[in-house]
Amino acid sequence: MEQLFALAQQNLLSPIILFFALGFAAAIAKSDLNFPEAIAKGMSLYLLFAIGFKGGASLSGYGIDAQLILSLLAGIVLSACLPLLAFVLLRLMTRMSTLDAAAVAAHYGSISIVTFVAASSILEIQGIAYDGYMVAVAATMEAPAIISALWLISKNSDDNRSMDSALMREIMLNGSIVLLIGSFLIGLATGKDGFAEIAPFISAPFKGVLCLFLLDMGLVAGRGLVNAKGAVSHRSVAFGVLMPLIGASIGLLFAVLIGLPLGSAVLMMVLSASASYIAVPAAMRVAVPEANPAIYLTLSLGVTFPFNLTVGIPLYVAVATAVVGG
């Protein structure tokens, strides 16, 4: 317990979290601080490029083993099933319409890559190792949740809302996934030599860029909350805090079953706990335009993302340490 507090304090005082808080506070105070769209996009491309490449390079030299395969499968199963759970929970806890509840559920099955990146940064600071292939697990968890949610909708309504092939292609080939998987594979192919070549670009400045990026995320999340005043009920907010805890627990269960080491187990929890706010909202706007974006964006970006970043990650580290052992 004491250790948990120490961890939480260490986490809350890391520049990464403080810059997120700065952005959040600046947005609430209605400061005009803002990042140009292109810079925010550029930073996110950088983070995907760096995390993918690092993951691939760290894996090169090792063969494909059962744990890797099982982790990927676990990711797919988690992403596909968590939305069903989230949907039931939402119907029980809130008064959302079926469409809104299904749309929200899709977000919680999918993942937030920035939460993943922040967690891996915090693991590195604490000297906890994790497997490079967790990046690939993250990538596999983006899409299945969307398909589950669309299935939920078609089951609960008359109109048949099967995904059209254009949308399917957009989801599978969305820029983030392509960059993440592509960089991962290139890192895998070029290994230590390739990594050494570009390490000064992707390793040393990584944490600094992450600080700036989280500052921007804080601004966006804070502005989202300010604008969405009234769009989400107290019960929905409670869901936004409860669901990541449930997700993380189930993630931990899978990690234990597969036998993942501490660092990877934490990341599996983080992936299960985090909610998408890029790929899934885009898919929902196309496939379910009647669902209210203010609800799902506020929950995933305004509630769950800050919760995971500040309270969630240190909690997951502490619990995983207790369960899996350091």
Binding site: N34, G224, I278, A282, M284, P289, E290, L301
Partner: protein, 103 residues
């Protein structure tokens, strides 16, 4: 300079639907269109601006399409289903163009 009557259709629509809309326009036989970025706005679904966007799901585009008067009706009919389900506005203005073989 000889001028010809034409219609200027201006459609403000979610960026994520932009390609689907322009595909419909092309199918409807429109000979050209231009897309302008929209940096912010307000409507029945609230106020928004480019700053404070994290997702390509948000943001709008303005699609401007000059057509011959007789093409107006079929063009609007072709894109209406999309506009009906998704947020956005359409306006049609009388205008004049120079080379009407282009429209």
């Amino acid at each position: 300079m000889k001028m010809h009557e034409a219609k200027r259709i201006e459609i403000i629509i979610e960026k994520i639907m932009e390609k689907r809309l322009t595909d419909l326009l092309t199918e409807a036989g429109v000979k050209g269109y231009s897309v302008l970025p929209v940096s912010g706005g307000s409507g029945s679904s609230g106020r928004w601006s480019r700053q404070g966007q994290v997702s390509r799901a948000q943001g709008m585009s303005s699609v401007v399409c000059l057509v011959k008067p007789e093409r107006l009706e079929p063009t609007i009919d072709a894109v209406f289903p999309l506009l009906d389900r998704h947020i956005g506005v359409v306006s049609v203005t009388d205008t004049m163009v120079i080379r009407d073989e282009l429209f």
